[in-house]
């Protein structure tokens, strides 16, 4: 799909195609739709990024709450979106041993209790070890620091999903 094709999409089509580059949240794709025509994919991504930045903190946290826990119940049950499932597998979440699964579950629970949103990380850019390390660090972070880190990761996930969706087509 080239940028001219993207720029020509009516809103409904645009939202249908791009809603899961950012956790099946149609409002976000619908909000950036009138920013077309985009010069290129980078400009499209920047429009999404700027929109996310323009959300109030409650909205940023709402967005984070739409992500699913790493190696969590939905991953175990195979009920994640295809994109999420592949991303978690890319970071080795499918080959954790049972100790690692329960360690991850404990840390995720601690994190969720502390911040009220799940731990978000761009797992395609990580592996098991770096994910555990970041989760341990994040559990000690201040809320504002952690929210900003998580939003950055959400944008990285969006970047890679967009690349795969547009360039692989």
């Amino acid at each position: 799909m080239d940028i001219a094709t993207i720029n020509a999409l009516p809103c409904e089509e645009f939202v249908k195609i791009f809603d899961n580059v950012i956790v099946k949240c149609p409002l976000i794709a619908a909000a950036v739709w009138p920013r077309r025509p985009f010069k290129d994919l980078i400009a499209f991504e920047e429009a999404i990024s700027e929109f996310i930045d323009s959300l109030p903190d409650s909205g940023k946290e709402g967005l984070l709450r739409c992500f699913k826990a790493l190696a969590g119940k939905e991953f175990q049950n195979g009920t994640l979106s295809r994109e999420s499932d592949e991303e978690q597998k890319a970071a080795g979440m499918d080959v954790l041993n049972s100790n690692e699964v329960s360690h991850m579950a404990r840390l995720n629970e601690e994190y969720q209790q502390r911040f009220g949103f799940p731990f978000v990380i761009c797992s395609r850019m990580h592996n098991k070890v770096s994910i555990f390390n970041q989760l341990l660090v994040s559990c000690q972070n201040e809320r504002t620091v952690e929210r900003a880190r998580a939003i950055k990761e959400a944008k990285k996930i969006c970047h890679l999903r967009l690349q795969r969706l547009v360039l692989s087509d």
Copy 2:
């Protein structure tokens, strides 16, 4: 479902139950979830309303773009959500004659061209005549006036959906 039950819901359940009180937009339900415990249904509604007000204008318009056109293609094809479908029928959108259908389509198109989002109205509080009248008036409105009117209507739709969902249960 009473307010104590709502207040006890974990985030995922809460989002699953309430995302279509506001056009299947999980971010909104997820953003108000930490505002629990709500004193009553009114307080819950107020939290949603305040969150919508806190969105940037681009986000408010993104939200409006998630609504489907009145008597539009999706209504004709029966692919709306159950809630939307029932609401449109309550205002008589299923008994328009062919002249009325094409008149509605023309006005919707004119509106969409002018504002870049579809005409939104709480159809349960209207009938065919008052909808046509409002659509004619709205097509002449300034953008800021029209966005504010449409957001008010979106909140009325949310109010009625919430009432039906919670009180009928």
